[in-house]
């Protein structure tokens, strides 16, 4: 990921000084990907919305402490993805305790067979693997950056990516047959 552009630095400065328009610009720039990343990890629309909202609120509360020389996206995505992993683990635990209504299926709309297969495959992965797939292929972070975000060794990221992709490939193949 490259450093923040001049526009983003200016939005952050403006938001710190109380400018709603700068805050809105920052929000509109970053919300869609943060929300989608949360959704792809938790696979639950309401939870994804809550997680992305909480992440923005948390980021906003801590804006004064944010180092404006660094890009805002990774900071936000780190909060989103870690919360999404925690939520998914908690849900898995609750499912162990009692049968609860499952999460909704992915709203794949009319995406075509391959995307539907990827969606189904992603749903079958453990949260840790889903998170690295989303960070790598939706948010386009390098394995080194992902390792820092999730506070795991780089080798762990690579192995989760490999296992996740292998499993996705197998499921997509099966769905397309």
């Amino acid at each position: 990921m490259v450093g923040p552009g001049g526009k983003e630095r200016s939005w952050i400065r403006g938001a710190r000084a109380g400018s709603v328009s700068d805050l809105e610009a920052l929000f509109r720039e970053h919300w869609p990907r943060a929300h989608r990343a949360a959704y792809l990890v938790v696979q639950d629309a309401a939870a994804a919305e809550d997680i992305a909202q909480e992440a923005f609120l948390s980021a906003m509360r801590n804006l004064d402490r944010f180092d404006g020389r660094r890009p805002f996206g990774p900071w936000l995505h780190r909060i989103v993805v870690n919360r999404a992993i925690d939520w998914s683990r908690a849900r898995a635990l609750r499912r162990e305790l009692a049968e609860i209504p499952g999460s909704e299926d992915f709203d794949t709309g009319d995406l075509g067979t391959f995307s539907e297969g990827v969606a189904a495959g992603l749903a079958s992965l453990p949260p840790d693997q889903r998170a690295v797939i989303v960070l790598r292929y939706l948010l386009e972070y390098t394995p080194g950056e992902i390792a820092k975000m999730l506070e795991v060794p780089r080798g762990t990221v690579n192995s989760r990516l490999r296992r996740g992709l292998d499993r996705l490939e197998a499921i997509v193949d099966r769905e397309q047959r």
């Binding site: 938001a15 000084a17 109380g18 709603v20 805050l23 809105e24 929000f27 509109r28 919300w31 869609p32 929300h35 989608r36 949360a38 959704y39 792809l40 629309a45 309401a46 994804a48 919305e49 809550d50 992305a52 909202q53 923005f56 609120l57 906003m60 509360r61 004064d64 402490r65 635990l93 609750r94 305790l97 009692a98 609860i100 209504p101 909704e104 992915f106 709203d107 794949t108 709309g109 995406l111 075509g112 391959f114 995307s115 297969g117 990827v118 969606a119 992603l122 797939i133 989303v134 292929y137 939706l138 386009e140 992709l165 996705l168 490939e169």
Partner: protein, 400 residues
């Protein structure tokens, strides 16, 4: 394959993305409007002040003369290694009267004074009604009122996930109300399940707390960490604090004159009028606190990452924290505190040891019970931090 996955992921949309963005912006904007602009000096002064207060409090605790017990005769330093008797393998009786409501990883349980236990069913959490006549329970989208034998008196469902149900403190359940969080909305329903209505549309996640001694005043957190006290009959705000660390627990003193807001990295202490008496920052927020009965003193769990130990420390909720008193210490985490109705006994959940400790506050007596996870239906193989009961409340004698 990886390029195909990239393209596929970028085509998958969350349902209702545009509306979700609109809702989120409204929330972020509202929170931003409520935020106090912070000058550079204030931005940099506050952490220093908090750190200074924390250091002063710690020094005061370390330098305080031991032995002059503030809570009866509790010893200032009791280490389990030296003095804790061998734990009993099972909870065969409570050391004081009343009943426990235990929110375990397998749902809520009631423990009677003779040690007998009853699981209330596959609910996620529960809270006593006054006099333990009923229990308000939640699970996913459902709120219900149960009798202590687990019979459902009434239930309601809402579209969003429910949590934080708390029964108001009037003496009879028919007259009382239950406040709960539905998604981000704070709602109140009568104790008989009628009249369910929203009170505030966007609130913080912490469970609301009814003010004792004053009818129908409820404290809750706003999304920017303010504490608001509201009259639920008029829906008018009685007071609203400045923003702060979003609270994880709100705890009133027995007389309703003091309120603690435990945060992820702080503790704030308020008086009955919403004035902040004092606050301290901590590297790890307190996982629990409990007021000493009929007192403005409270016992706080303080975890030290450096030593990886938890301490129980006694503070006072007055204009200053007073001289903090170190009461007890053990390696690992203390997860929950509960005090008996007569105020003589303190239950401490010692997570890493899978034990409950019962500390007698009027003497140096300590009792312990092991295998807590297993006794409440949990698996001995599950990680203790997940499987150990999350909270315990010790209520008045249960109705027969």
């Amino acid at each position: 394959m990886s390029d195909d996955v990239r393209r596929a992921l970028q085509r998958i949309q969350a349902p209702d993305e545009i509306e979700a963005q609109r809702r989120a912006w409204a929330l972020v904007r509202a929170s931003f409007d409520a935020r106090e602009p912070v000058s550079w000096q204030r931005r940099n002064r506050r952490p220093l002040l908090i750190a200074a207060v924390a250091v002063v409090a710690l020094l005061a605790a370390l330098l305080s003369s031991p032995g002059r017990a503030l809570v009866g005769g509790v010893r200032d330093a009791v280490t389990p290694d030296e003095s804790t008797p061998k734990p009993k393998p099972a909870l065969v009786a409570l050391p004081a009267g009343g009943s426990l409501l235990v929110n375990s990883s397998k749902g809520p349980w009631i423990v009677h004074p003779d040690g007998s236990m009853r699981a209330l069913g596959p609910w996620w959490e529960g809270a006593w009604s006054p006099n333990a006549e009923h229990v308000a329970v939640t699970r996913a989208h459902r709120l219900a009122a149960l009798t202590p034998d687990g019979t459902i008196k009434w239930a309601l469902s809402r579209a969003k996930l429910l949590h934080g149900a708390r029964w108001s403190l009037e003496p009879r359940s028919e007259c009382c109300r239950i406040a709960y969080i539905n998604g981000r909305q704070l709602r109140v329903v009568a104790g008989d399940g009628t009249g369910d209505a929203p009170l505030r549309n966007v609130v913080g996640a912490v469970a609301p707390a009814w003010r004792p001694g004053v009818t129908r005043q409820l404290a809750f957190s706003t999304i920017d960490g303010r504490i608001e006290l509201v009259n639920v009959d008029t829906t008018k705000t009685t007071w609203l604090s400045a923003p702060g660390d979003p609270p994880t627990q709100l705890i009133w003193s027995d007389d309703g004159q003091r309120l603690l807001a435990l945060g992820e990295r702080s503790l704030r202490v308020f008086d009955a009028n919403g004035n902040k008496l004092w606050a301290i920052g901590m590297p790890v927020g307190p996982s629990g606190a409990v007021f000493v009965r009929k007192s403005h003193r409270f016992i706080l769990i303080r975890y030290s990452p450096a030593t990886q130990r938890s301490d129980l420390v006694l503070f006072q909720a007055e204009n200053t924290p007073g001289e903090p008193r170190f009461l007890y210490s053990a390696p690992g985490d203390f997860g929950t505190l509960a005090i008996s109705q007569n105020g003589d006994w303190l239950l401490v959940g010692w997570v890493n040891a899978n034990q409950w400790l019962f500390l007698r506050l009027t003497s140096a007596k300590v009792e312990s019970v092991s295998n807590i996870v297993e006794q409440f239906g949990g698996s001995s193989r599950a990680p203790l931090e997940r499987a150990f009961p999350k909270s315990v409340s010790w209520c008045c004698p249960a109705s027969p």
